[in-house]
Subunit: 311 residues, 2 copies
Amino acid sequence: MAVIPNFAIDKNMSILVLGTVALDTVKTPCGVRKNILGGSAAHFAMAARFFVPVNLVAIVGEDFPKRYIDLLDKKGIVLTSLIKVPGRTFRWVGEYKGDLNTALTITTELGVLSLFKPTLTESQRKIEHVFLANVDPEIQMHLLKSIHTPRLVGCDSMNYWISHKRNQLLRLLKKVDIYVANDAEARSLSGKSNLLDAARKLLCFGPKIVVVKKGEHGLLCVSRRMIFSLPGYPVNEAVDPTGAGDTFAGGFMGYLAKARRIDDGAIRKALVYGTVLASFNVENFGAKRVCNLSNVEIESRIRRFRKVAAF
Amino acid sequence: MAVIPNFAIDKNMSILVLGTVALDTVKTPCGVRKNILGGSAAHFAMAARFFVPVNLVAIVGEDFPKRYIDLLDKKGIVLTSLIKVPGRTFRWVGEYKGDLNTALTITTELGVLSLFKPTLTESQRKIEHVFLANVDPEIQMHLLKSIHTPRLVGCDSMNYWISHKRNQLLRLLKKVDIYVANDAEARSLSGKSNLLDAARKLLCFGPKIVVVKKGEHGLLCVSRRMIFSLPGYPVNEAVDPTGAGDTFAGGFMGYLAKARRIDDGAIRKALVYGTVLASFNVENFGAKRVCNLSNVEIESRIRRFRKVAAF
């Protein structure tokens, strides 16, 4: 496990993300899109690539469109450990209503995800920045154990694992530096309704930093010596929030992987980058907006965000 | 109606608040309190008194305890227009569960509130800063018309009036400078689900500033030339959120009434003071915490808030 305070990153600035690559079918008040590129690792990678090289570790089926592989490749994402096997790709069908704050899952088809046993190349095992996006905590632990010398490890999970594999998740949390959870997950795993209490309880489970994502309402980040609260970036038009949390994590962890020192200032900046990346994500379906994003647009929105939140 | 940009306040720094003074019975996960001091004007006044003299305009019944009158008086609140008439005081019985974000109203007993026809003294009609806390918009309009030269007028409302007296509320909004609404009210009155869209639509109804309160998630403030987003102050223990919105409005409008110039900087500062006052309010039942608050505690939390939200 990494020691966070003030270490210098010198040789390996890549980041490795384990998670899902999926085909999403999404209905929102703005329309419907069928079988678009989705999944926790895909959204993460699309955001993290602005900061450091990204190695994506995931599984897809034979039905996974070549154009999405080409797209990920064109965006510079290293796909050595994106494996393709016989069977169907993981699919999620969901709907958002009204204020888009809650996803209604209509169907989940695991497909080849149920066969997933990630393996890394020798050079990938030397990568020091790792994000374990939402998959079975046993798979997350398996992957983490194959990393030689992790320096900064983040992880995400979901209510299903909190309910069904709580002990496995708690074992994993002892090994990670940063736990990223949404408000409902933080409350559920900690048993505390007050978010600050919840975040502090989660710190006791092992992570040095807990980030509680609150959707459009921003986030709360807590470490033993810091509390940081950030509003969401007010977007003009929210089209589809799918993947916003993973996009946030990609911007956040990507920035930290690039940072030379990880201190309170760097963490706050990383959270701001994550928030801004996530704000772009919701402006179009799936990963489309972040896929077509430029560094100039990101920096411009960072400046705008500072104005919006300064007091 | 006031002209907001950059006017200097010179002679009259008092604020007048119209609203309810109530006996609240509240159940939260932290306990139950019966017939405690509540109501929009009472909570507002308890917060605004830290900045300027407050004139409270409300009605209570014969059953209203003398100790609450004495308490308001002891806190320096001018009670000339708090009238006591035969009948029962307005009572609200409510409950909060889980994360305290939603109040469940069990009973509302209007009592003497149904007879309320506020009248002001001649000197009160000269007060230039006015807050029309949540009561019937026709009563709010009636009071506003009796003010000689209002310079800064804020108002609040609730979903009941948005549904039942929409036209009267819209007529009122043409005459106010600042409209303070919670997120559900903003969405309901504007017909927009995106909060930024909602706030902008509300600006078209007349106010120069719209403040959308998001409970523990902070606020969004929009004018024609500014967007400001502020997280909530993360409180250690939330006991009872009743009156937090009115306490926020008291801190916000109180600060503005005291400010010599009302520009973007003053508005942001006022929103921060309102947020901090509201954060104290939720730490105990009713108005108890704000009632026993000191200026030193307020300033200390303002500094802490800056640290928590700086990036």
